[in-house]
Symmetry: C2
Subunit: 131 residues, 2 copies
Amino acid sequence: MGTPQLTKNQSLVMGALAHSDGPMSAYTILDKLRDHGFRAPLQVYRALDKLLEYGLVHRLESLNAFVACTCPQDHDHEHGVTAFTICEGCGQVTEFHDEAIEQRLSTLVRAQSFKTEKTTIEIRGHCKSCA
Amino acid sequence: MGTPQLTKNQSLVMGALAHSDGPMSAYTILDKLRDHGFRAPLQVYRALDKLLEYGLVHRLESLNAFVACTCPQDHDHEHGVTAFTICEGCGQVTEFHDEAIEQRLSTLVRAQSFKTEKTTIEIRGHCKSCA
DNA sequence: ATCGCCATGTAATGTTATTACATCAATTGC
DNA sequence: GCAATTGATGTAATAACATTACATGGCGAT
């Protein structure tokens, strides 16, 4: 299967996120895309839904915002749990992945007989430059 | 120092959360407390801010909702990173803590020279009963 | 008593997300 | 060809979540 061809709206939203230096809210994306014919929030949310589904974009729950996936690898296969550091100073977001955490969480959740669908790990704080 | 005496509004909000069987949004809390004189969202948000600060309540970022802390231990000293499983079926939220994850995250974040202020770990899925 | 501090009350507004309904284009099956 | 289906889109309205701004009231300390 793989990631399908993006539609026009999906490409525009993806482009906006990819060229941004940080996370963007849906409404910020909307504003950026007014010139390209975007008029309503739903146009953004619909595109984001698909991009999230394809794994091209991540949602930052603690920010109600979205970032392009920075993972170099293919998006076709799962790349497990994604975690983020989020700097309160400069807004910089860094994505990372760790097998050890993933396994440990898996063990703990299994002990509850809980079936994981989506895992959110977000660390708010200050980056090296903003410490 | 320890947790200060709660004010009237803080007690009401704490009570609402403690007696609920699951997470509540700020507006749900507001509705529950109309009979006790609550009229505006701010009354709830102000109380929540303090309760969060005291560690009596947790915010679930992926739900925009709040739960009473179920941690049996004293709230006076830090009890590190808090993680949650959240069942999409029944809404049940389970709080847990794990030293191994805490240490591993600490190591990874340190490698970035990042200074953690708050860590969010939320696992959405289905509990044993709702699988 | 006056000041400062903090909790409170109220209204208005800002921000994020969804529902509902209509239209349009591409594809499929007859 | 031409319904029927499916998926993307457009638009408006509304719902849900959160904050700003400003006024008031209680209470302890000087």
